[in-house]
């Protein structure tokens, strides 16, 4: 059997691929959220029995990797983890050759995390199996946006009209890009907040319903949802940021949480750095949904995998 396509071929991604939120249709997003609500890792049906799912991780991950793995296993799939260290990637194998190899050993789907934006797209254009983006560079992290929407909808009736403040390192954040695409699509209003080096003005062009402010009070006033982000020092590429200034102006404290609506929820895609973008009191406070998000990652990713392998009914 020849799975390998001619080297110049550029094809549409296989059905069931999830490369980003931006080009995902509304009904697919709603379908995934609906399916996620029906998924229970403790009482899962073996929808993906004998399916082989490869987790291909070129970047460190705790939450995303473990929840994709648990999601896959809950559905009865076999999983294999490939990391850049300890594989042929270390020897200089190209991304596409790695993809062809995994396809040849029988992978039915590939979940990929990669430091380069667009890496999952490249793979999807050359493979005939679903490719699921588990985070590509600064581009998108669609499963996180879906689980964030899932989490919000457990606490809020609808996304329409919600005021959402996203605070922190937006420039480097693939989570924010995916969240902006998803949440504004369904009528949420988002305020992006942070210093110019983290929140360039161009960020407001990402989708309709976005605005940028440098003032945290302005971002928080009337907010239904507060989303915090870690400063991605590994992607700073030489930029210097004065942490004390950042903490003074943008750290989420209990006092600042009070500026938002009383029923506001606090979210963070993790990993969190206590004492930097938020205080321990906020992280562990009653409005914090940080652990819920992690928890909701499993059913959301079960839904993504079931859809990927055509078992979404």
């Amino acid at each position: 059997m020849m799975h390998r396509l001619p080297s110049h071929a550029m094809n549409k991604p296989a059905r069931g691929s999830l490369l980003g939120i931006e080009h995902l249709e509304d009904k697919e997003i709603l379908g995934l959220l609906k399916l996620a609500r029906r998924m229970n890792p403790l009482k899962a049906r073996p929808l993906l029995r004998n399916k082989r799912i490869v987790l291909l991780f070129y970047e460190a991950s705790t939450r995303t990797r473990s929840s994709f793995e648990i999601a896959a296993k809950s559905l009865g799939a076999i999983t294999t983890l490939i990391q850049s260290s300890g594989s042929s990637i270390e020897k200089g194998e190209s991304l596409l050759d790695t993809g062809y190899t995994l396809r040849a050993v029988g992978a039915d789907a590939i979940v990929i995390r990669h430091p380069a934006a667009g890496a999952p797209h490249l793979m999807a254009q050359h493979l005939d199996i679903p490719v699921i983006n588990a985070g590509d560079g600064m581009h998108e992290h669609p499963s996180q946006a879906l689980l964030d929407a899932f989490t919000i909808l457990k606490h809020k009736k609808s996304l329409k009209g919600l005021q959402i403040a996203i605070i922190g390192d937006i420039y480097h954040s693939r989570v924010t890009r995916s969240n902006c695409h998803l949440l504004t699509r369904f009528g949420a209003k988002i305020t992006l907040c942070g210093p110019p080096e983290f929140v360039p003005d161009v960020a407001a062009t990402l989708s309709p319903g976005l605005r940028v402010t440098r003032h945290i009070e302005e971002a928080l006033r009337g907010a239904d949802v507060i989303m915090l982000l870690r400063l991605q020092k590994e992607r700073l590429a030489g930029q210097k940021i004065r942490l004390q200034d950042y903490i003074a102006r943008y750290q989420m404290t209990s006092a600042r949480v009070k500026l938002a609506r009383r029923d506001a929820i606090v979210m963070h895609p993790g990993p969190i750095i206590r004492g930097l973008e938020l205080t321990a009191e906020v992280a562990d406070g009653p409005q914090s949904m940080i652990i819920d998000e992690v928890h909701n990652g499993v059913p959301t990713r079960m839904a993504i995998l079931a859809r990927a392998l055509g078992k979404a009914k």
Partner: protein, 436 residues
């Protein structure tokens, strides 16, 4: 290269419409080529006596052979991307009779020996090859090369293309030495301190795709500085390679108004495409300088029409498939361009933006010949080299990258439908390319 072969016989190009901007000719004319030179230009049917061969150019435009100021032919060292033989074959198919080739090879062409090597008949060039020497040793930007030796060996300019000459003092010294020798210094204008790890134009598209962007300012600030230096150094000659931004154009205009010897070139992809055309990480839309904003392209179109731009240059930059079929951020910068340049100019500039054909021909002929002093070229005045490009401005065709004469197929224009096609390319009186 063949221009000095004395006896190549004679060729009469009959029935065509001659556009020779340098000679201010835009009229039906017959052209007689003899012994590698232009022997006679005359009104139709007014050339008497026989010729060894005739070319029926009815319905076609006859123009001086095109010159491309900016081509990467990859030899020495990277023959898997392109060779002088394959690259010049692609040039001939694109209507170019002269190509000026960039020194960022492996090794860098930073001495006279390599310049001579590039010009050696064993390279099997199909058209004229004019090497450009490196401006600094190994193009590291630290110490100037021996400009005089490079020039004696045949270099027509110096550059560190692929990289900028960043240091103020080195650039000043390069322009000074260039002024003494009447040698143009070609700048790849990119403040690389501002473009680290960047892979496309900085703007809404780069933000959306999560790619680090190269700001327009990173180009404009270098051009601005260089124009200021060129104004300060008498007789210096600054040529801005692959200019891509509106702000850089402003600096060039400032220089030209102030009578500095400043020139610039623009590529077909920059007057055709936009940053957003990168789509979903298509690496055939990745080059340096990157595709820019709509406002930048608009400014370039104005400057092409009003004479600010001196030449269309392709920045033909072939790369092997394995260097392009990788993550966008890791992919090599550059696209091929020799075989699509005229078609893009006619399709976009002439038909869409109504720039006259005479101006387009000027941008391929007299303009570039003047920038690098390609003597006795760029015009079909009697006695000049018999380098001629004949094209059909109305011919519709589809470009297929797979049929390219280049060794590499990294083009964004595969499958594009064009109007305007090269019919024949004549070098020193001999047909070196003829369309099927």
């Amino acid at each position: 290269m063949g221009n000095d072969k004395s006896k190549t016989g004679s060729l009469l190009i009959k029935g065509g419409h001659l556009i020779d901007p340098a000679a201010k000719i835009n009229a039906p004319m017959d052209v007689l080529l003899r012994d590698g030179r232009v022997a006679e230009i005359a009104l139709p049917n007014n050339i008497r006596g026989g010729a060894d061969g005739k070319f029926d150019a009815r319905g076609l435009i006859v123009a001086p052979g095109f010159s491309d100021l900016h081509v990467h032919l990859r030899e020495p060292g990277q023959g898997y991307k392109e060779t002088i033989a394959t690259g010049t074959a692609a040039a001939a198919a694109g209507g170019f009779t002269s190509v000026c080739i960039m020194p960022n090879t492996a090794p860098v062409v930073d001495n006279a020996e390599w310049v001579a090597w590039l010009r050696h008949p064993e390279r099997a060039a199909v058209v004229n090859v004019f090497p450009i020497g490196a401006a600094t040793l190994n193009s590291r930007g630290a110490a100037l090369t021996d400009f005089a030796a490079l020039q004696r060996a045949g270099a027509v300019a110096v550059t560190d293309d692929g990289r900028p000459i960043l240091d103020d003092e080195i650039m000043r010294a390069a322009l000074r030495l260039g002024a003494e020798l009447n040698l143009p210094v070609v700048q790849h204008a990119e403040d690389t301190r501002l473009t680290e790890n960047a892979s496309m134009h900085e703007g809404p598209t780069s933000f959306r795709l999560g790619l680090r962007g190269m700001s327009a300012a990173a180009e404009a600030s270098i051009v601005d500085r260089d124009v200021t230096l060129a104004q300060q150094i008498r007789e210096s000659r600054l040529h801005v390679a692959h200019l891509s931004t509106s702000d850089a154009l402003k600096a060039v205009r400032r220089g030209k108004r102030g009578k500095a010897r400043v020139s610039c070139e623009v590529t077909p992809h920059h007057f055709t495409l936009l940053d957003q055309d990168v789509g979903e990480y298509n690496t055939n839309f990745k080059m340096n300088p990157p595709l820019r904003s709509a406002a930048d392209r608009e400014a370039i179109l104005v400057a092409l029409a009003d004479g600010t731009v001196d030449a269309i240059a392709t920045d033909h930059a072939p790369h092997a498939t394995h260097e392009k079929q990788v993550e966008f951020e890791r992919a090599a910068f550059g696209i091929t361009g020799l075989e699509t340049a005229l078609a893009l100019a006619i399709t976009k500039l002439h038909r869409e933006h109504k720039i006259p054909l005479t101006r387009i021909v000027e941008l391929f002929t007299a303009g570039p010949a003047r920038v690098f002093d390609l003597r006795s070229r760029g015009s079909l005045a009697r006695g000049n080299f018999a380098d001629v490009t004949i094209f059909d401005p109305k011919k519709r065709w589809t470009f297929e990258a797979g049929k390219s004469r280049s060794l590499s197929h990294n083009t964004p224009f595969d499958g594009w439908q064009f109007t305007g096609k090269v019919v024949a390319t004549i070098l020193s009186g001999k047909i070196v390319y003829r369309a099927d």
